[in-house]
């Protein structure tokens, strides 16, 4: 499992996409690297100003951690077909994004892979 997480983190470093922010992400997240998390969805907050998912992730020592995943505003995601039903409580998902500063267990979402393999991208227009 630990090897898988390390592989996912390494892959995540190669990925770069854009989501939209309306406040300073630099205050909360770092753009220096990206990481990938795999876990079970505990809570879904499909609301403005930011969509939020709580993801239960097992770390390398077998301890369960709750990660706070943040996405773009609802209006932005909805326009691309990403709705409140796209990710449900209990889903096993893989999320890639920018981690929180100071090892805070937060993630600014770049993309999410759903249980059926389909991918949701949190991306603003170029």
């Amino acid at each position: 499992m630990f090897r898988l997480i390390k592989l996912l983190i390494a892959l995540g470093c190669l990925i770069s996409d854009i989501s939209i922010a309306h406040h300073s992400f630099t205050a909360e997240f770092t753009a220096e690297r990206t990481i990938v998390l795999q876990g079970q969805v505990e809570e879904v907050w499909f609301r403005n100003p930011h969509v939020r998912y709580i993801l239960k992730v097992q770390n390398s020592e077998g301890v369960t951690e709750n990660w706070d995943l943040r996405g773009s505003p609802v209006v932005w995601l909805a326009r691309k077909g990403w709705t409140k039903d796209s990710i449900k409580v209990g889903d096993i998902i893989t999320a890639e994004g920018y981690p929180g500063h100071s090892n805070r267990k937060m993630l600014s979402i770049i993309r999410v892979t759903l249980p059926d393999g389909s991918i949701l991208i949190d991306r603003a227009p170029e």
Binding site: A21, H22, H23, F25, T26, A27, A31, S108, A124
Partner: protein, 353 residues
């Protein structure tokens, strides 16, 4: 012996002449650099345009892009400019421009530095002297009032998103105590207002009426009225973050002047906009009516030594609509409570508005 003296004297004279002539030649070349330039930066995806101001100080140069300071280094005909910016996500990075100055023009290449979510490939840049009344916008405008009604979708063209501005001591004092994220109005579902709202990448709709334009901003579902036939607000109208806006068509541009503003912040960095600030926006419609472009200039001498400038471009988009926007501040308050930061937040109440 006399010959030796003559040679030494000649060498000293030549060296002195050289010492004097080098600065003079430098001065002769660089005296043409001072002033206002329109800087254009082109990568493989988009064109950015900004006002570059270069000034000579007692011992060096200083420069400003869109009202904010940039690093500048000039050696003979070589110039280097480093300008900070933020991307759509809010990550801060630099653009390093290097090039030559020749025949009252500058041009060269640039590259992005630092971590940004919005990656830019290296590109080219150029600068030409600002002409009178030249806003740096390149679109052909119609001579009279254009039909700007409709829904507009933002592009990522034109706007440098200059990150730091030239602040007065008062502006610096404010910024020093400002805490990003926690103090920003948006996160607790309070409107950020103007000028930021006009620069965000969410779509907006313009409705044209006899005496006004109504702007419907998707972000935070905000409404704004641009009055075309009256010049002042009602007697008891309170200040607000949308202010009071009057508009007029001038040489094919919709010029909007806004006052009666409430205190807010300019952008992600948190620089203050005071109640005494005024904002001028100039909207230009392309000849084919499909592109709308704006330059947004803030005048707030209490906080800014130079006027902050933003630019935006939108495309007409009949295939979308303005979505409803409801906001729940629990996504801000609850995590803060869970992280044990709530008392800190309450203690900072005097710093918020």
């Amino acid at each position: 012996m006399n010959n030796m003296k003559s040679i030494k004297s000649l060498i000293v004279t030549l060296m002195l002449a050289l010492l004097i002539s080098i600065p003079m030649s430098l001065r002769a070349e660089t005296s043409d650099i001072e002033g206002r330039w329109i800087l254009s930066l082109q990568d493989d995806q988009r064109l950015l345009v900004g006002l570059l101001e270069i000034e000579k100080t007692a011992n060096d140069w200083q420069a400003f892009l869109e009202g904010g300071p940039v690093e500048i280094n000039i050696q003979k005909d070589h110039i280097e400019i480093v300008a900070d910016s933020r991307d759509v996500r809010g990550f801060v990075f630099n653009r390093r421009m290097t090039g030559k100055i020749k025949n009252n023009q500058m041009n060269g290449s640039y590259e992005q530095e630092g971590a940004a979510a919005q990656k830019e490939n290296p590109g080219t840049w150029s600068a030409v002297r600002e002409k009178n009344e030249d806003s740096g916008l390149t679109l052909t405008s119609s001579a009279t009032a254009g039909d700007i009604s409709g829904i507009w979708t933002a592009t990522q063209e034109l706007d440098f998103r200059k990150y730091t501005m030239s602040l007065t001591q008062s502006g610096k004092d404010w910024l020093e105590q400002y805490l990003p994220y926690y103090d920003q109005p948006d996160v607790r579902c309070t409107s950020i207002g103007l000028p930021a709202l006009a620069t965000y990448s969410f779509p907006f709709e313009i409705i044209s009426s006899d005496d006004r334009y109504t702007f419907l901003y998707e972000y935070q579902a905000k409404v704004r009225r641009i009055w075309m036939k009256k010049e002042s607000p009602s007697e008891f109208m309170p200040p607000s973050r949308m202010g009071f806006s009057v508009g007029s068509w001038v040489n094919g541009e919709l010029v909007i002047k806004t006052s009666l503003l409430d205190k807010t912040i300019r952008d992600f960095r948190g620089e203050l906009i005071s109640e005494d600030a005024t904002i001028e926006e100039r909207y230009t419609l392309s000849a084919d009516d499909q592109t709308l472009t704006a330059i947004i200039i803030v005048d707030d001498p209490e906080n800014y030594e130079r006027q902050p400038i933003r630019r935006r471009q939108w495309k007409r988009n009949a295939n979308t609509e303005i979505f409803p926007y409801t906001c729940d501040p629990d996504t801000f308050y609850l995590p803060m409570y869970e992280d044990g930061e709530f008392q800190m937040y309450i203690d900072r109440t005097p710093f918020r508005f």
